[in-house]
């Protein structure tokens, strides 16, 4: 069975660059922009654990199962 994949998005306008999602993601899906905001640079590594979604204090991370491609 193929690995389940997810789309991870960050609403850049709402991100306050706190670094919580970047530090807490167990599979290092996020990197940081020059301003310290989260950016998604390895969505394929996401396991869908939702840690980032539940811990973003500004509600700007969203994780959704990818439709079969």
């Amino acid at each position: 069975m193929a690995k389940k994949l997810y789309n991870v998005t960050v609403q850049e306008k709402l991100c306050k660059a706190c670094g919580i999602c970047i530090a807490l993601c167990p599979t290092k899906v996020f990197g940081a922009t020059a301003e310290g905001k989260a950016n998604v640079n390895n969505a394929d590594a996401c396991t869908g654990c939702l840690t980032c979604e539940m811990h973003c204090p500004d509600f700007c991370v969203e994780v959704e199962a990818r439709e079969n491609e």
């Binding site: 306050k16 706190c18 919580i20 811990h55 204090p57 509600f59 700007c60 969203e62």
Partner: protein
Amino acid sequence: MKEIYKEYFRGNLPHIWCSGCGNGIVMSAWARAMDQLQLDKNQCVGVSGIGCSSRITGYLDINTLHTAHGRALPFATGVKMAKPEMHVFVFSGDGDCAAIGGNHFIHACRRDMDMTLIVFNNHIYGMTGGQFSPLTPFGKKSTTSPYGTVDPDFDLCKLAIGAGASFVARGDIFHAKQLTDLIVEAHNHPGFAVIEVMATCPISYGRHNKIPKPADMVNYLKENTVSKVRADKMTPEEVADKIVVGILHQHEPLEYTKEYAKLVKRLQGGEK
């Protein structure tokens, strides 16, 4: 943005909280709990006092009251007495609830009225620049204790149990999923339900106590909390430095508004 946030928040974001403030994580857990509970939003009331955490009522898409410092519980008591069918959620800070509002807290526990109180314990007066509160741990620094506090530790949950609250729990923002479940259970409990939530204030507390990074504060909670179930199997020495989370106490309440309704009915029936 996620559908549950659109459903339970008013959409006036970004909120005023600082980057990495733990308050947003509690607000998110509340929205997830609401999604599980599927209550009629028109029948829900959120009541808060004054403080950073109390600003939450400005963002929730239910009926809300943002009241006076330390007085969220008296207002909530009034709401529940007038409209016992309403689902009442009270939001308060550690200063709001344990310092200026301490007396109201004791009496709300004693009356045991059916409502849910969520206390954001970030160990500090965040809004006014970081003075220590009754829930600042011993020895910690703040703007009013630059060399560390000399006040002994104070346990709000023990006070709640002693004062008679029929549901007392502690949660934390690292265990966000468990926090959601606690909010659901607290709401479903038919008496006064207290949840002390270990939250974080990186700006007014973290920076003074060598833990300025929001993620480090969240990870501190990961490493220093133990569940009630596990704590019960540990020795007192092993538990001493840990934060025990989970449902700490629960008993069948003699709910205030129901008892009051019975009294009214009895007197209307002409009985003495």
